[in-house]
């Protein structure tokens, strides 16, 4: 308990100077989607452009995360495998599992806050 709150404090402390330095290139952020009990968790993920998304298959069954517009595809992701991809293009990307099409999710990619005002 003590240890984890110490880490949380340290992370907060680190976050402040990073966001304050608006002109410096930000370290690429990351996000994770889990394939868990035949569902994508979270079902909707909103990220800034340039975020690396890692998809983790927690199940014993294989799954895919396949974009409807074919912009990304994990292909068959076996039990406990991971896949990752940097999302640069702005937009809303709906995806599903080819093996279990009732599994659906959306990744919403927004303009990077640091580039706002420059465009």
């Amino acid at each position: 308990m003590l240890q984890s709150s110490a880490i949380a404090l340290a992370m907060t402390a680190l976050a402040i100077p990073a966001s304050a330095a608006s002109t410096a290139p930000r370290a690429a952020s990351s996000a994770t989607i889990h394939m868990h009990d035949f569902a994508f968790v979270p079902k909707t993920l909103t990220i800034d452009a340039g975020t690396r998304v890692t998809i983790v298959n927690d199940d014993d069954e294989a799954h895919t995360a396949t974009a409807i517009d074919a912009s990304f595809d994990t292909a068959g992701l076996d039990a406990h495998e991971t896949w990752s991809h940097v999302f640069d293009r702005i937009g809303s990307f709906a995806y599903y599992c080819e093996l279990h099409p009732s599994m659906k999710g959306v990744i919403i990619v927004r303009t990077h806050p640091a580039s706002k005002g420059h465009s």
């Binding site: 009990d37 035949f38 199940d59 014993d60 069954e61 294989a62 895919t64 396949t66 409807i68 595809d73 292909a75 068959g76 076996d78 039990a79 599903y96 080819e98 093996l99 279990h100 099409p101 009732s102």
Partner: protein, 292 residues
């Protein structure tokens, strides 16, 4: 190995029957001898070559054992049908491994894809097993007075268990002029009726296919996908799903979700195997054999 060489390799039996893909897209047997009064064939399913999980750490070995047992049958089946999920992740190396094992069958082999065989597209599957000409991969053939139909219900990636209009139209034409007393046997991967839709164990437009089949006196529908034997009857249509050669799945509703079921090794072998089917003057006899 290309399709014709694969068919050549496995498409011959000791009794001199070869299966060829005809110009019309149907697989027709060319028998040298007199027509027997009955037909016997074997169904295997869900080999999931490439699967490496605790539910079965050697799926190649259990498929291989299945092939050995079929090859040891004193009367060889007219053909062996694999009702899909030959591979786990549609990888070319997995298709190669599967063909190495299936290529040892003494009887000709008829294959159709499961959803695990067409991940990312159908190219790897068709490259491995060929494609019936003139259709999207579905086909029919006649043998010993029985009409066999091989359907594909895994080609629509946004709906699992779907035949589609093109295939349904083909099926209607395929059946239109047949006499109602022709025994019909239908193969497909995902169950054609609503077996357990909560887990996707259904074919959305399966009822349309069943409507075309309903006027026949005796229809047998053999599916895979659910990795266990479940039988069901609707009018003159009898359904049987098959055991896998790879791993079992839970019975409908007995778990939160489908997927590989881990059981002790001795129990596992009782849940894997193949099915012998005999059609004798319109009567269908189904016999399950396990690897125990």
């Amino acid at each position: 190995m290309n399709r014709s060489r694969f068919l050549e390799h496995v498409g011959w039996t000791g009794t001199g029957i070869a299966f060829t893909i005809g110009a019309a897209g149907s697989m027709s047997p060319m028998s040298a001898g007199a027509k027997p009064q009955s037909i016997g064939f074997v169904q295997i399913s869900d080999s999931h070559i490439g699967f490496h999980q605790p539910a079965n750490d050697d799926v190649a070995a259990t498929l291989s054992e299945t092939v050995d047992r079929i090859n040891a049958m004193p009367v060889q089946p007219t053909f062996v049908v694999h009702t899909g999920d030959v591979t786990h992740l549609s990888k070319p190396a997995q298709f190669d491994d599967a063909k190495q094992i299936l290529g040892r069958l003494r009887a000709p082999l008829v294959v159709m894809p499961g959803e695990h065989d067409v991940i990312g597209g159908t190219e790897a599957y068709f490259a491995a097993f060929g494609k019936a000409k003139g259709t999207g991969g579905w086909s029919s053939f006649d043998s010993d007075g029985v009409h066999f139909i091989s359907l594909v219900n895994v080609f629509n990636f946004e709906k699992m268990g779907l035949l589609g209009t093109e295939q349904l139209d083909w099926l209607e034409r395929d059946l239109r002029d047949r006499k109602r007393d022709t025994p019909i046997v239908v193969f497909g991967h995902v169950p054609l009726y609503a077996l357990y839709p909560q887990w996707g164990w259904t074919t959305e437009d399966g009822a349309k296919a069943l409507a075309y089949l309903a006027r026949f006196d005796a229809v047998t529908v053999l599916n895979g996908h659910i990795h266990q034997v479940i039988s069901h009857t609707e009018g003159t249509i009898t359904f049987h799903t098959a055991n896998a050669t790879a791993y079992p799945q839970p019975a409908p509703g007995t778990a939160d979700k489908p997927g590989p079921l881990v059981v002790p090794k001795d129990r596992l072998l009782k849940m894997l195997g193949y099915r012998s089917v005999k059609l004798i003057s319109g009567e269908t006899k189904v016999d399950e054999s396990t690897l125990a």
